[in-house]
Symmetry: C2
Subunit: 642 residues, 2 copies
């Protein structure tokens, strides 16, 4: 026994060094007792490749042994390190825009202050359901020089090798990289510690390594249909509104209609497709049901200030690449989301996502490619007032099941009271005394001021203090599903010198209040010197830059938007959708025709303008395919494209 214990101590070797000492001189084996003697010092943790087989417990033990507030640096000798859930920290995590779950965490960082984590060029390989970096309540954090990947992906891929439009079948060739089983007629891809079904599928073009043209005709696959037999289920009356998309309710009164049949090992025929059968030669990508497939963002920061991520590559994540909740001042510089291991797909959700953030959010020199959702999404959260509890407090509820557990505000924040049917802007404002967590769906919010008389249940709460200024500069955004930039902030955005080539619209600025309840609008936006290549190729009739609301009214939502000196290489007619804007300048832009794809909506107007004012066009060059340039809401008077 002694022998194996000594071996383990060797494997756990890491270096604990006072900052004032020369690195490498003082080598201390990890030990709770020896750590305690230097608790008031500034610490450096150095890990070497002796722990590469499974670095998880060594990292856990080292982080346990130090006061994280005093930890200034964590370094890894350059190498490939594996991380497993088996001996990782565990915590139930509410994760915005993800599925909340009991999950494991490789780097549980909390209350750190002034910490640099330097991978020194290392690659971290994760296995199963484990969040690489969960950073909470911390300040001045710098993560750099590392690469994140998973041994097995949270999505799966297969090549369409045959189809039969009459029989409504198609055949998929699946490589041993994506093990599967068929049970009860359904195909499940089996992973380490995880599995998923054929839900949330999309087609990729393997030659172009991007989303397939017109995939919306083929995907998603419509695995299920209504129509199971029910007996007295309708007698079950809920006292309160329930979330019909949660795991319990989304599958009730549904049954599978598409079935899978293995023709030979690695070759599976799918029967009873509802949409157009997938085209032979395309790569089918799927990641399973929406309520189960977002479990592991690569980096999540919550309640952190001044976070920098430099020279970090995320090859994969079972969710988003970088997610910040209620943080201030975040810069991602040379942050890259890129595929690996021959996969078509990088992360299975957004490359970056910012909710309730403030200060400055910057993406600089980033490559955000092949992820299965937006390159960047910046927004707040609308919560609905359910009831008034007394003269100073309300009960509020999250709108989307994947936002449960989110904390709307900090004490002192200004909350806008919104009734979207009247205005996108608040009819009144209150400041927060406390937000008291009751459960993931329901909070008590206590204000410093009495509730105004006009307040009604159903009105929305918006945290006006929690929006950032956004800068996106010198980034490449391409080959992903969904949007490029989805930005909802009234604090301004500077979008310059970027390259966009996305499946949906490259830039969307919405007021979104019907599905995800992602709050915010847009003001003081500069979009300059960008190249927009193709875009909107999957089947939706959309422009390249869109300012839209979910509410069909004439109220102003967006202000002071400038789009200038950009190049649009556009394969389709639609270019701009401008709704509910006061102040839109489109100047010095060049619109060329791209022949990379056949236009889907050649007869659409290039520019649609509705319920807006102070819209100007100056010195643009239009060489696109649209026959009609401007489609302007008649109440707005005459407008000219110049």
């Amino acid at each position: 026994m002694k022998k194996s214990r000594t071996k383990l101590q060797m494997k756990l070797k890491l270096h604990l060094i006072k900052k004032s000492q020369t690195i490498g001189l003082a080598i201390v084996s990890l030990c709770l007792f020896s750590m305690a003697t230097v608790a008031q010092e500034t610490h450096v943790l150095k890990f070497d490749t002796s722990i590469a087989d499974d670095a998880t417990f060594a990292v856990w033990q080292a982080l346990q042994a130090v006061n994280q507030e005093q930890l200034s640096k964590i370094t890894f000798e350059k190498g490939i390190y594996n991380f497993y859930p088996d001996r990782a920290a565990e915590k139930y995590c509410y994760i915005s825009n993800h599925d909340d779950a009991l999950t494991h965490i490789a780097f549980p960082l909390n209350n750190a202050n002034g910490l640099t984590l330097d991978g020194q060029g290392s690659t971290f390989i994760f296995h199963g359901v484990i969040i690489p970096f969960l950073i909470e309540n911390s300040q001045h954090i710098n993560i750099k020089n590392l690469t994140v990947d998973w041994a097995m992906s949270f999505h799966s891929e297969g090549r369409v090798v045959a189809n039969n439009a009459t029989q409504k079948t198609f055949d998929l060739r699946i490589s041993p990289q994506y093990p599967y089983e068929i049970r009860d007629g359904q195909l499940y891809f089996i992973k380490e510690y995880y599995e998923h079904d054929m839900n949330q599928a999309i087609m990729y073009n393997p030659e172009k390594h991007c989303i397939a043209y017109d995939t919306d005709k083929m995907t998603p696959l419509s695995l299920q249909k209504k129509g199971s037999t029910q007996f007295h289920v309708e007698d079950i009356k809920y006292k309160y509104d329930i979330h019909h998309l949660n795991t319990l309710h989304r599958n009730q009164n549904q049954q599978f209609c598409m079935t899978a049949e293995q023709l030979e090992p690695g070759l599976v025929r799918f029967h009873n497709t509802k949409k157009q059968v997938p085209t032979v030669g395309l790569q089918l990508i799927c990641k399973g049901s929406q309520d189960k497939n977002r479990v592991c963002p690569a980096i999540k920061c919550a309640d952190c200030n001044d976070v920098k991520v430099n020279n970090v590559t995320i090859h994969h994540a079972g969710g988003m690449g970088f997610l910040a909740e209620n943080c201030a001042n975040i810069t991602l510089d040379h942050y890259r989301v890129l595929t690996s291991q021959g996969r078509m797909v990088s992360t299975t959700a957004d490359a970056t996502h910012f909710v309730g953030c403030r200060g400055n959010v910057n993406l600089l020199y980033c490559d955000l490619e092949n992820q299965l959702d937006d390159a960047m999404n910046v927004h707040g959260t609308y919560e609905k007032i359910i009831n008034c509890l007394d003269n100073y407090s309300v009960g509020s509820q999250m709108g989307h099941f994947q936002q449960q557990g989110f904390c709307l505000a900090q004490p002192g924040d200004t909350i806008g009271l919104i009734r979207l049917s009247n205005s996108f802007f608040p009819y009144n404002k209150l400041t927060v005394k406390t937000v008291d967590f009751v459960n993931g769906h329901y909070n008590r919010i206590v204000f410093n001021e009495p509730l105004p008389d006009e307040l009604q249940p159903g009105d929305l709460l918006e945290n006006l203090s929690a929006y950032p200024h956004v800068t996106v500069d010198h980034c490449t955004i391409k080959h992903n599903r969904a949007r490029g930039l989805l930005i909802s902030t009234p604090k301004g955005a500077t979008i310059t010198n970027n390259y966009f080539e996305t499946e949906m619209e490259p830039i969307l600025m919405p007021v979104e209040s019907s599905s995800w309840f992602e709050s915010g609008n847009a003001a003081d936006v500069l979009i300059r010197h960008n190249i927009f290549q193709d875009g909107t190729i999957a089947g939706k009739k959309r422009g390249v830059i869109r300012l839209v609301t979910d509410d069909n009214n004439r109220n102003i939502a967006f202000k002071n938007i400038e789009v200038s000196e950009n190049t649009f290489n556009r394969q389709d007619a639609m270019l701009l959708e401008i709704n509910n804007v006061d102040g839109f300048l489109f100047k010095n832009n060049v619109i060329n025709t791209s022949t990379n794809y056949k236009p889907m909506f050649p007869n659409a107007p290039a520019i649609v303008i509705h319920a807006s004012k102070n819209v100007k066009f100056e010195k643009n060059k239009y060489n696109g395919i649209a026959k009609t340039l401007l489609d302007v809401d008649p109440t707005m008077g005459k407008l000219k494209f110049k």
Copy 2:
């Protein structure tokens, strides 16, 4: 708006009274601010029936507003109160012998000291997945005079109205009390906030209101079989042992074989049964898959001292009635687990369960009936040593997936090091410095003493400090599935004046190390003045009182057991199974023949004795059916039944 707010305040009305004042004089509306002014007082919370529609948020808000350490009493005006999860506290709960889950809690009590909760005869009706009472880190707690029930049960029932042994079908008549749906050929019972499938089924005899004779021939139903198609799944190699019974793995490589077909609303035919088709006239009970059906014990206490439950009736729970983890000194007096609403079943798991408890555990004048598992289960937990981390600490792992998150010991506790192949008793002992939670499956345990040289990974850890003395007196235990008393404690047990009528053995004292890893043995046990009626009716060949181990060796596990002055009204031959005992006295007992059931194993010996010593029989009267009275291990020499 003002109007509805006032109404709400009325609904939330509860009374906050300084203990010195006459109850009813000082009526204070619940309010965070006014509460703050009396935070140093001893508090009484009085709830009245104005909150009966949904008492959850009023209770939450009141408990939030007080310092629970200062709370001496909570009372409810007699009435029927509803509790819903929607506005209840929420917490991820590790619950021993249950499924860990994010759950809601109606009464989240923590750090209370000297609290009496008096229902004054009220009934609390729960809706969905919500734990009524979760009491943690508290002392001197008294819960009394209340009844717990659920609006919809976590199990379901249906009457067998036809069967066809040739076709392997049976038909179930289901009442609107148990709404269902059939999807993908499977029947799911649908509840408020919950559903379950046909797993874990058992037959009840509706006339006798107890488990059906010989149900083991018919149930469980074998819903699934092996044999789905797999492709390269075997290539997935896990670095560490995985729990094959967890939700992910238990369903892989399985598919449904039994199918459901609705013949008419409320009448469902099941095809392809594997066992004997269920007998017409019996009531089929099912509660769904083992990994999902234990989510809501009625009362859970953890890390509490001196808990009393008086005059409390539990009609139902989605799990156990009363569960104590790591508690000391618990008395259940006139605690009742009884059916309601015409159901065959009360709680879906044990009526009472005690793990890692110490001091005295007393069941006095309890009625424990119709629950779907043991009336009482008392045990510790074996954890397996996975690896040695340094000279003082080990990594340890829980053996069963439903024990994850359990904390083995407190600082100062004595831990036995066990190698069951050598002895049931420790080969060495250590005392605990800390138990550090890494994750639900894996802990770091640091000892005050260096690890002994003979320690090996695979050895078990047993907390020798965490066993109670058990008293069960004047209790009625009947009509439940499984055992009566399952007691594993070396600190002694007194079992007197009880009535037993159970499906499996009335009293089991095991060393259990192969499935649930429930530790403990038995010593100084007195079983006197009890009536054992029938028992072991479901199909298993078992005695009435059993002392058994999972390990087939001759080591002594149990010491000093006296069984005297009991009446056995026994329908079958087997009476006692005595293994690995040193000191067993069977005296002044009367064994009669019951004709309530046909004997299943009439040729079995009455008493089987193996690997035991100092066994004595004195002054018993045997009028049972066994042809052979004693079957004694030949190495033990001659023994006579007297």
